[in-house]
């Protein structure tokens, strides 16, 4: 294998990994703050894909308008879902089980609602940008470069938001100690709602960026959820920066693994890695014990 192809695969791995990071960080944000494992996260991704498809293809909006709009709708929908389901369950004694059951149910409902409303057709969106970037022998479609740039920008934005804004402080404080957060005057329930919305927005953005490459169907969220789990386990459950790092790492490991074996082994590689991490470092590669 020559060096250019190898580097190209590493870059492709980072690009895929940046999407894993967006998906995983949404799951991590909700788990870290609310201790709720959102099994409907994949369906929020799927709906984000549909929103993008309808706005871009049906309504003919340019991507720089349709994508932010799709993400905004997903944010609002995420908050609404939290308000209607989790809000009532999380205050009960058996919340740990009921929230898992509720999000699992929600996942099935959303899949079948999508099937009923949108049909089983696989929908794609045209490339947002055309052409191929060439540096020496390395060739990457601009579409993929765009995915990576957008992902990095959003990750940067979220890192800034968590570290320096009032909202970010309230999210981190709630994640670390819910009672203490309430006592200093943080409306914890509202923080939960916003976190759920932000997670949905992150998932929707990933779906929107991948829509030209991965077709949107009612089942599009299932593999996404599984990959998201691998990411949060590798990164340390509930750690936002851990999920980012683990997402990128997983993308690269898969890319190299696929080079050495074949593309059917992609999921085998990632789940083997996950099981190995559960075995050796159950707190995650980047988490604290």
């Amino acid at each position: 294998m020559n060096l250019a192809i190898f580097l190209e695969q590493i870059l492709n791995g980072l690009i895929t990994g940046s999407m894993y990071a967006l998906i995983g960080s949404g799951i991590a944000l909700v788990y870290g703050t609310m201790k709720v494992l959102n099994l409907a996260h994949g369906e929020l991704y799927m709906l984000g894909g549909y929103f993008t498809f309808f706005l871009t293809v049906q309504f003919g909006l340019p991507p720089y308008i349709s994508i932010p709009l799709a993400v905004a709708i997903a944010f609002a929908l995420g908050m609404l879902i939290e308000k209607l389901t989790i809000e009532y369950l999380i205050v009960r004694e058996n919340w740990a089980f009921t929230t898992i059951a509720a999000t699992l149910g929600l996942s099935i409902v959303l899949q079948n609602a999508a099937l009923l409303i949108f049909g089983e057709r696989f929908n794609t969106v045209p490339y947002y940008v055309q052409g191929v970037m060439a540096i020496g022998d390395i060739r990457l479609p601009w579409q993929r470069v765009l995915i990576f740039v957008v992902a990095l920008a959003v990750i940067g934005l979220f890192t800034w938001l968590l570290k320096y804004t009032r909202l970010g402080w309230s999210i981190r404080a709630t994640a670390q100690d819910r009672d203490a957060a309430q006592v200093v005057g943080i409306p914890v329930r509202r923080v939960y709602m916003i976190c759920f919305g932000l997670a949905a927005a992150l998932g929707a953005l990933a779906a929107a960026m991948l829509a030209p490459i991965n077709a949107i169907s009612p089942w599009a969220g299932i593999p996404v959820l599984l990959k998201g789990f691998v990411v949060v386990v590798l990164g340390g459950l509930g750690s936002f920066p851990g999920a980012i790092a683990a997402g990128l790492l997983l993308g690269v490991v898969e890319a190299i693994g696929v080079q050495l074996t074949s593309s059917e082994w992609r999921d085998v590689i990632s789940f083997t890695l996950m099981i190995a991490v559960i075995w050796w470092r159950p707190w995650g590669l980047f988490g604290k014990k």
Binding site: W169, Q176, D179, V184, G185
Partner: protein, 242 residues
Amino acid sequence: MATDSAKPMLDVQNVNVIYGNYQVLWDVSMQAHAGQVMAVLGPNGSGKSTILKAIMGLTPVRSGKVFLNGEDITNRPAHEMVARGMSMVLERRRLFTGMTVYENVMLGAYHHSVQKYAKDRLEWVESLFPIIAERRDQIAGKMSGGEQQMVAIARALMSKPQLLLMDEPYLGLTPRIVQQIADIIRKVNAEGIAVIFNEQNVKLSFGISSHGYLLESGRVMLSGTGDEMMNSDVIRRVYLGE
């Protein structure tokens, strides 16, 4: 008692709290007045932490009422309390351990109703606890227990409370630190802030409080001024071993 003539700042009336099938508080009533330091005494499991949590809105009250400055605050959410002039230091500090000292302290002035005080209050708490300026960027979880308690108290003072609740402020601290914390409580009180704290050790409590309640198995057994309490038969026999 002179304090009975004035309207109480905090008025707890016949509060019952039940966890699952277990009743923790039985018809607990207590009053605290502006500017006082009040102690809630009692052994482990007497409900002395629960009553503070119930006042703050962290634990649901099954029946009974809690009034703060004449307003009914029963079962109001805890995050509203700082706006009403009450804040709390939780048991075992409960800092945001992954955040810096500065972030912890500033979060004490998070609520929009108290944000405007943040700058002045920060100066004041830094004068009370020099460690807050010195260790500004240290991760709070890496400090010693006594240092963490100071940050926790500073955080609770940032919202400019009239009433400060302290859940077992001396728990797990060395005698030297306990003396420091007691001095801090005096200083806080000297600023006109009423303090209610709970503690097992009777002698330690009446070193700084003017007034107290004794809880046992979730019921008020005794109340009165420090002297009255120290001279009561129950306290002398059970707690002082005389």
